[in-house]
C-alpha cells in the first residue's frame, strides 16, 4: 500500500502533462463549441449539422480518433510544412478537443433554444442589440447548463487523455500502459488512481462553478474557477522550461524497450539534458516519430527496420552477416532519413529456438542442425503467428524440419509448455529473460536461416551531429550482451520480487559500469 502511494507520488510529470493537455483541449473545445452553439441556436440547419457531426465524432473510439490524427497531420504537412508535429501534443490536443465539443455544444444549444420566449421578447422589447441580448440575458441564463456540459467534457477528456500515451504524448496513460506491458499492476493502479482523482477534483471544482452560476453566487464561481486555474497554472509551472536542453527518449511497448529507454535516459540526464519519455509507441509509429524529431533516440532491431522501413528485396546488396546488415542499414538511414545509427548494443532480440539445457544434453542437441535427424519425433512450439511467418519457413527449409509436429501457444504459456514437456523446442525471443530463468539453451543457427535482429541505437536527424548527445550514448554501443539484457528483462517480467523498468535499468547500468571498470582497469567513473 505504501509502495502504491509512493508510485502514485512519482507521477508528478505525467500528471502535470495530463493536466495541461486536458486544460488546453477543454479550452479549445469551449472556444469551438460556444460560438458554434450561438450560431446553431439561431439556425436550425446549423444546429442539425453541427450536432450530427459532433455526435458522429463521439462514436469513434477515442483510441482510433487519436491514431487517425497521425496520417491527417502527415498529409497536412504538404500545406503547413515539415515542421508540423504529427505525434505528441498537437494530435492529442486536436483529438481530445473534438471529443470535448459535443457535450458543451449540446448543452449550450439546448439551453439557448429552450430559453423562456418571454424573456427573449423582453430583451428585444427593451431595446437590446443582438450582442447585448447574448451578453446580458442569454449567456447568464445559459451559464449553468453550459458549465454542466463543460463538466461532462472535462471528465471525458481526462479519461480519454490517458490514451494520448500511444501517440507519444506524455500523460497518466504512461504508467497504465507501461504497467500493462510489464504486468506491473501497481503501476497500472497508480495511473488509474491519479487519473480518477484528477477527474473527481476537476468535476468538483467545475460543479462549484456551475452551482455558483445557478444560484447566482459569484463567490462560488470565483472560488471554483480560481482553484481550477491555479491547478493548471501549477502544472504549467512544474513543466516550465528551465532552460535545459530537452531530450526525448522513445520506447516501444514491451519490457526490454522500457528498460533500455530508462538506461538511455539516465545517461542523457547525467550529461545535463532534461529527459522526457515517450513510451508505449507502436512499432510503425516510433520510427516516424524519430525521423520527424518527435523523439530524439530509441532502440530498434535490424530485422524490424529491414522489414518495416526498407522493405524486403530492397537491399539485396546487404550481406547476410549481422555486422554487414547493421552497416547497410546505417548507410540506408543516413542517406534516406538522415537518422544516425550509432551502433549495435551487443545483443539480439530475434526469433530463436530454445529447449531445456538438460534435455538438449541428453539428446545431444546444440544447434538446429542436430534437430533434423530426430524431427519426426519432435514437437515444436511457437507463438500464435510464428508458423505463418517467413522465419519459420526459412528454418524449415534450411534444416529439413518438415517432419516435425508444430503446436501454437499463447506467448505466456509457451514456456510452461516446454517445462511440462508439451513441446520439445519452442520459438522464443532471444533476449527474453525466461531463457535464463528456465535454464534454456538457444540452439545455434549455423546456416543463418533466421534473420538478425540486432538491437541498434537510432538518433534523430537533428541530434545526429550533437557531440554531447552522441558522447553520452556511445558507451552503450557493444556494451550489453544478451545475458545482461535477459537478466534485466526477467527482473521486470517475473512475478516475484518484480522490478520496475527504472530499477532494472539502474541495475543494468551498475552492471555495465562494473564490467567497464574491469575491462578498462580503472574506476567506473574514469573517462
Amino acid at each position: 500500500m505504501r509502495a502504491l502511494f509512493a508510485t502514485t507520488l512519482r507521477l508528478g510529470d505525467a500528471l502535470s502533462q495530463h493536466v495541461l493537455l486536458c486544460a488546453a483541449a477543454l479550452l479549445l473545445g469551449v472556444m469551438v463549441a460556444l460560438p458554434l452553439a450561438v450560431w446553431a441556436s439561431r439556425s436550425r440547419a446549423v444546429a442539425q449539422v453541427s450536432l450530427g457531426i459532433a455526435g458522429l465524432i463521439q462514436t469513434i473510439p477515442a483510441l482510433a480518433l487519436l491514431a487517425l490524427f497521425f496520417p491527417v497531420l502527415l498529409a497536412l504537412r504538404s500545406v503547413f510544412g515539415a515542421g508540423l508535429p504529427a505525434l505528441g501534443f498537437l494530435p492529442a490536443l486536436l483529438a481530445l478537443s473534438l471529443y470535448a465539443v459535443l457535450p458543451i455544444l449540446r448543452n449550450t444549444v439546448t439551453a439557448l433554444v429552450n430559453m423562456d420566449p418571454r424573456v427573449i421578447e423582453a430583451a428585444d422589447g427593451v431595446g437590446m442589440t443582438g450582442y447585448q441580448r447574448l451578453r446580458l440575458v442569454e449567456a447568464p441564463l445559459a451559464a449553468p447548463f453550459v458549465m454542466a456540459g463543460i463538466r461532462t467534457a472535462a471528465v471525458w477528456t481526462i479519461g480519454a487523455a490517458t490514451l494520448a500515451t500511444t501517440i507519444g504524448q506524455q500523460s497518466l496513460g504512461d504508467p497504465i500502459f507501461a504497467g500493462l506491458q510489464t504486468q506491473n499492476w501497481e503501476l497500472v493502479l497508480a495511473g488509474c488512481i491519479a487519473a480518477a482523482a484528477l477527474a473527481l477534483v476537476a468535476d468538483g471544482l467545475l460543479a462549484m462553478v456551475e452551482r455558483g452560476f445557478a444560484m447566482r453566487r459569484p463567490m462560488l464561481v470565483f472560488i471554483g474557477a480560481g482553484l481550477a486555474l491555479a491547478g493548471v497554472a501549477g502544472a504549467a509551472v512544474a513543466m516550465r522550461d528551465d532552460g535545459r536542453d530537452v531530450a526525448v527518449v522513445g520506447a516501444k511497448n514491451f519490457s526490454e524497450q522500457y528498460i533500455l529507454a530508462r538506461l538511455i535516459g539516465a545517461r542523457l540526464s547525467a550529461a545535463g539534458y532534461k529527459v522526457e519519455y515517450r513510451e508505449g509507441l507502436g512499432s510503425s509509429v516510433i520510427h516516424r516519430a524519430l525521423t520527424s524529431g518527435a523523439i530524439d533516440v530509441y532502440v530498434d532491431y535490424t530485422g524490424t527496420i529491414l522489414a518495416n522501413e526498407i522493405g524486403p528485396g530492397n537491399m539485396d546488396d546487404a550481406g547476410t552477416a549481422p555486422a554487414d546488415l547493421v552497416e547497410a542499414i546505417a548507410r540506408w538511414e543516413r542517406e534516406t532519413t538522415g537518422t544516425r545509427l550509432l551502433g549495435a548494443l551487443g545483443f539480439e532480440n530475434a526469433y530463436a529456438f530454445a529447449m531445456p539445457k538438460e534435455v538438449a544434453r541428453e539428446r545431444g542437441i546444440a544447434a538446429l542442425d542436430d534437430l533434423a535427424p530426430v524431427a519426426s519425433s519432435l514437437t515444436i512450439g511457437g507463438d500464435l503467428e510464428f508458423f505463418e511467418r517467413p522465419e519459420w519457413k526459412a528454418v524449415r527449409e534450411a534444416y529439413g524440419l518438415q517432419a516435425a509436429n508444430t503446436r501454437s501457444f499463447s506467448p505466456t504459456f509457451m514456456y510452461d509448455a516446454l517445462i511440462a514437456r508439451n513441446a520439445d523446442v519452442i520459438s522464443a525471443f532471444s533476449s527474453d529473460g525466461r531463457i535464463a530463468a528456465d535454464d534454456l539453451l538457444v540452439l545455434a543457427d549455423p546456416r543463418g536461416a533466421l534473420p538478425a535482429y540486432d538491437a541498434v541505437l537510432l538518433i534523430a536527424p537533428d541530434r545526429a551531429e550533437d557531440p554531447r548527445f552522441v558522447a553520452a550514448l556511445r558507451p552503450l554501443i557493444g556494451a550489453i550482451n544478451v545475458e545482461a539484457m535477459r537478466r534485466a528483462n526477467y527482473a521486470v517480467d517475473r512475478q516475484q520480487a518484480k522490478r520496475t523498468p527504472q530499477q532494472a535499468a539502474q541495475e543494468l547500468a551498475e552492471e555495465l559500469a562494473q564490467k567497464q571498470a574491469i575491462t578498462t582497469g580503472g574506476a567506473p567513473d574514469a573517462r
Partner: protein
C-alpha cells in the same frame, strides 16, 4: 387637429401566409390613451408590435412624429418606447433595481438609487424592494416593476400588450388605475392591447375594435356604451355591460 403623434399607414402582415393584419390605417394623437380590443387572433398584438418594430410589416409603414420607424435602428427605437407585456418579462437573473435600470444601461448610462426609488414610488412599491430578485415578488409586484422598467428611460410612448393578464381582478383594477394616473401625470401617449373589454372602456379615451385583421370600430367609451360602433363592437361591449347591469340588480 395637430399632426398625429403616430400614423399607421396601410399596414398588412401575414404569418406563414395567414393574414394577421389587413391594410390597417389609423392616426393616434399625442396624449391619447388608446385601447385595442378584439377576439383572440384578431391581429391586435401584431398591430401593436409593428409600432416598436418587434414585427416588421409586410406592407405599409408606421410613422412616429412623421418619422418612418423602419428607418431607425430597432434597438434605439425600442429604448425610446416603454413596453409592458403579458407574463411580465422581468429578467430572472437581475434584481429589481437592475431590471428597472436596464434600458438606460443599454444606452450606456446608469440610474441613481434615488431615481430607482422614485420609479418604484411611481408604481407604489417600497424602495426596499430594489435589491429583491423577481422570484421573490408577488405577481402584482412583478407587474408593477415591469411598468417601472418601461418608464425608466422617460419615454413619451407606452405600449402595453395584455399587461395585466397574469394578475387577479383586484390587483388588475388597482394597476389599471395606477397606469391611467401615470399616463396623465407624465403626459404619455399610451396604446394598450387587452381582451378585457371593461378594462378598455374604463381606462381608454379611444377604443379600437379589431376583427380578422381589420379595424371595425373606432370610438370613445361613451359612444360604444351608447350603441355606436357596429355589430362586432356591440357584441364585445354587450358582455361586460350585461354583467354590470346584473350586478347592479343584485346590489339593489
Amino acid at each position: 387637429m395637430n399632426a398625429p403623434f403616430i400614423s399607421v399607414e396601410n399596414v398588412s402582415h401575414a404569418f406563414a401566409g395567414t393574414p394577421a393584419v389587413k391594410s390597417v390605417g389609423i392616426d393616434i394623437a399625442a396624449g391619447s390613451f388608446v385601447a385595442l380590443i378584439g377576439a383572440s387572433g384578431s391581429g391586435k398584438s401584431t398591430l401593436l408590435k409593428t409600432i416598436n418594430r418587434l414585427i416588421a410589416p409586410d406592407e405599409g409603414r408606421v410613422l412616429i412624429e412623421g418619422v418612418d420607424v423602419a428607418g431607425l435602428a430597432a434597438p434605439v427605437l425600442r429604448r425610446q418606447i416603454g413596453y409592458v407585456f403579458q407574463g411580465i418579462g422581468l429578467f430572472p437573473h437581475m434584481n429589481v433595481a437592475e431590471n428597472i435600470a436596464i434600458v438606460p444601461r443599454l444606452a450606456g448610462s446608469s440610474l441613481a438609487a434615488q431615481r430607482i426609488a422614485e420609479l418604484l414610488g411611481l408604481v407604489e412599491l417600497p424602495p426596499a424592494l430594489a435589491g429583491r430578485m423577481p422570484e421573490e415578488l408577488s405577481g402584482g409586484q412583478r407587474q408593477r416593476v415591469g411598468v417601472a422598467r418601461a418608464l425608466a428611460a422617460q419615454p413619451r410612448l407606452l405600449l402595453m400588450d395584455e399587461p395585466f393578464g397574469a394578475v387577479d381582478a383586484v390587483v388588475r383594477d388597482a394597476l389599471g388605475q395606477r397606469v391611467l394616473a401615470l399616463h396623465r401625470q407624465l403626459g404619455l401617449t399610451t396604446i394598450m392591447v387587452t381582451h378585457d373589454v371593461a378594462e378598455a372602456l374604463l381606462l381608454a379615451d379611444r377604443v379600437l375594435v379589431m376583427h380578422e385583421g381589420c379595424i371595425v370600430a373606432d370610438a370613445t367609451a361613451a359612444q360604444l356604451l351608447a350603441g355606436d360602433g357596429g355589430e362586432i363592437a356591440q357584441d364585445l361591449v354587450a358582455v361586460p355591460l350585461r354583467q354590470a347591469q346584473a350586478l347592479a340588480r343584485l346590489a339593489r
